[in-house]
């Protein structure tokens, strides 16, 4: 079944005529995603990779009945693009841009909650459902296989590393969700775990976390009753306090957000916590056999 994103979902690309939008539209189509329209104000009538371009989301939704949209516009315009999507009936919204102001993210997430829409990101690599050959995101196509492992990650490349190691170990994935590296993002580990819990195809979950915030600690309490095994790898053991490690959200501030506190909480909740990324796949093999 997979979660959140399914094979039949019709997808729009906001910012389709930009370099990134164009490139990833091609990649998404190649993977099998149903990209049915693009938005770029003033460019209606054009085509990108055979996909029709519209001036507005409203026009695109009327023409295609799309319910999902992926946003590639610059960060300063992300709020406008996100609201345009949400107000026009989009219910799965993937926000790729990095450096979206946190106050804008708060507004986006608040509105999405009120409308019952799912927001993934910002500052995310997106979401991919290998079993249904669809994706909304910038992840490489070749590293995933269909299978029983759900993956939820804060970081892109690190999740590629781990997803690929799972694939090589013969452990395919149901859905891989990138929460995003910002302090405020649409999903929480808990919201994604809830979806994995309800999904029959997902037999176990990999969490890829990192320093900063307390999303992992918060998730730990929930995992106690998840009913599916969880393997977690968290990055940032060597990170000093007070320094932002690339992601806006990856910072140990005023004693909060340390790896130690996260690993302790997860271990206490019965999660199999590994300390290096290459230990994830072997650990997953063990918990799946058990």
């Amino acid at each position: 079944m997979a979660i959140l994103l399914h094979g039949q979902d019709k997808i729009l690309v906001q910012g389709i005529t930009g370099n990134q939008g164009r490139f990833h539209t091609r990649q998404m189509l190649a993977y099998g995603a149903k990209v049915v329209g693009g938005i770029s104000p003033g460019k209606a009538g054009q085509q990108v990779e055979g996909v029709p371009v519209f001036d507005t989301v409203r026009q695109a939704v009327e023409a295609t009945s799309a319910t999902a949209s992926i946003v590639f516009v610059p960060a300063a315009f992300a709020k406008d693009a996100a609201f345009e999507a949400l107000e026009n009936g989009i219910r799965l919204l993937v926000l790729i841009p990095e450096h979206v102001p946190v106050q804008d993210s708060i507004d986006i997430v608040t509105r999405a909650r009120a409308l019952g829409a799912v927001v993934i990101g910002p500052n995310t690599f997106g979401i991919i459902t290998p079993g249904e050959e669809t994706k909304m995101g910038i992840m490489p196509n070749h590293i995933y296989r269909r299978g029983p492992v759900g993956v939820v990650a804060r970081s892109g490349t690190l999740s590629y590393e781990i997803a690929f190691s799972l694939t090589q170990a013969g452990l395919g994935q149901s859905t891989v969700v990138g929460m995003g590296g910002d302090p405020v993002v649409g999903q929480t580990f808990i919201s994604v775990l809830e979806a994995f819990r309800a999904d029959d195809e997902t037999k176990a979950v990999v969490m890829v976390g990192e320093i900063g915030g307390s999303a992992e600690e918060e998730a730990a309490e929930y995992i106690k009753d998840l009913g599916k095994p969880v393997v977690a790898y968290l990055a940032g053991r060597a990170a000093p306090p007070g320094k932002r490690m690339g992601h806006a959200g990856a910072i140990i501030e005023r004693g909060r957000g340390t790896l130690e506190s996260k690993e302790k909480a997860l271990s206490a909740a019965g999660v199999r916590v590994v300390t290096m990324p290459w230990e994830v796949a072997p650990a997953m093999q063990q918990v799946l056999v058990r």
Partner: protein
């Protein structure tokens, strides 16, 4: 981006929050003049760390002469790793009580969070949890005076102070929202003559929101090298080890440091070359690493959007233009892996495909490890 105390107070004052009279002083002479004008004052080191008082960064002066002597002692001193270049000379307050109030973002709730306490004057982390009042704010509703009165009540404040606090909280929340603040904090929020005065303040602006605030003075935080590399558009943090590191993606870069440490090595830096960096930026980043004169260099690439052949080309380019005089370990997998590995072979470099063995090897080559 953190703001200095005097900048934060400038913003508070603009928004109608009462702050003590104060002057900036960069020299003992200026400090003396400020005290002559203001009267008995606190001389406060302007550095971007908390706990200045305990570390000797705040002194009192009753006269201009005292101010000159005290300023002489503080200016130029090292305060928790920060050099003191500027003082804020501020009227000494006759404080009756010290409260705490802040507005920040609750990452889990994805909402603004008000924190307040009647036990102010110490770092909020050191305040007993039961003494902290917390209220999440619905951003669609915002902060109206009633919420301030409720918080004041929970803090045990009585009228008319509670009403004054409510008014201040509305203004503080406006700063948080409209100035793209990550944190705006008044600590202590002093009670002086029965009224509220912001005795110390912190204001951290969300870097991503800076484009909306061209009026803000830029405050750069970091070493010379950190600032130089960040100017290239790369995420960079200096560490205290001697194995230089480059990886693509923030999570991968963090994991790479962890792997080096795992095998007993000491990473010299965090460098995220970006999720899809092409030849030129990658070569620039590598040139920075070479310039650090590390014991060894580790490049860890999982090519998704990043192409392995681009990375290999960047390595070849840097070898040609400036040379790489220290051991180099490259781990290269993913998009265009075969081309990249072949390119490196021509350079006499055998690329690794596994992160673990590559990390282990670089630690050995740096002469570290167990």
């Amino acid at each position: 981006m953190k703001q200095y105390e005097y900048m934060a107070k400038g913003r508070l004052k603009e928004r109608g929050i009462v702050v003590p009279p104060g002057r900036i002083a960069d020299t003992p002479q200026q400090a003396a003049e400020a005290v002559a004008e203001i009267g008995p004052s606190a001389l406060k080191a302007q550095v971007l760390v908390g706990g200045r008082g305990k570390a000797g960064g705040i002194k009192f002066a009753a006269t201009a002469e005292e101010a000159r002597t005290q300023a002489h002692a503080i200016l130029g001193m090292d305060l928790k790793g920060y050099r003191v270049d500027r003082l804020y000379v501020e009227a000494k307050l006759d404080i009756e009580r010290e409260l705490y109030v802040s507005v920040t973002t609750d990452r889990n709730a994805k909402r603004p969070l008000i924190m307040a306490s009647a036990a102010g004057g110490v770092e909020i982390e050191d305040v007993e949890d039961s003494l902290i009042v917390r209220r999440l704010v619905d951003p669609d509703v915002g902060v109206l005076p009633y919420l301030g009165r409720e918080v004041a009540q929970a803090m045990g404040l009585s009228l008319p102070l509670a009403r004054e606090f409510a008014d201040l909280l509305v203004r503080l929340y406006d700063i948080y929202r409209e100035e793209d603040a990550e944190l705006v904090e008044i600590n202590p929020l002093a009670v002086v003559g029965g009224h509220l005065v912001a005795a110390d303040a912190r204001l951290n602006i969300d870097d991503s929101g800076l484009f909306r605030h061209p009026e803000l003075q830029v405050v750069e935080e970091g070493s010379t090298l950190e600032l130089k590399v960040r100017a290239l558009g790369l995420a960079y943090v200096e560490l205290d080890g001697d194995i230089a590191v480059m990886a693509n993606g923030a999570g991968m870069a963090m994991a790479t440091l962890d792997a080096i440490q795992h095998y007993g090595g000491r990473p010299a830096n965090f460098l995220d070359a970006g999720g899809g960096a092409s030849v030129e930026p990658t070569a620039q980043a590598l040139a920075v690493l070479v310039g650090m004169k590390p014991k060894a260099i580790f490049i860890n690439i999982f090519g998704g959007i990043t192409r392995c052949d681009d990375v290999a080309q960047a390595i070849a380019q840097v070898r040609k233009t400036q040379g790489i005089p220290v051991p180099l370990v490259v781990r290269l997998v993913g998009t265009n892996e075969r081309e990249g590995v072949a390119l490196l072979e021509q350079e006499g470099i055998a690329a690794y495909s596994e992160m673990s063995s590559a990390a282990k090897r670089v630690v050995e080559l740096a002469g570290e490890g167990r």
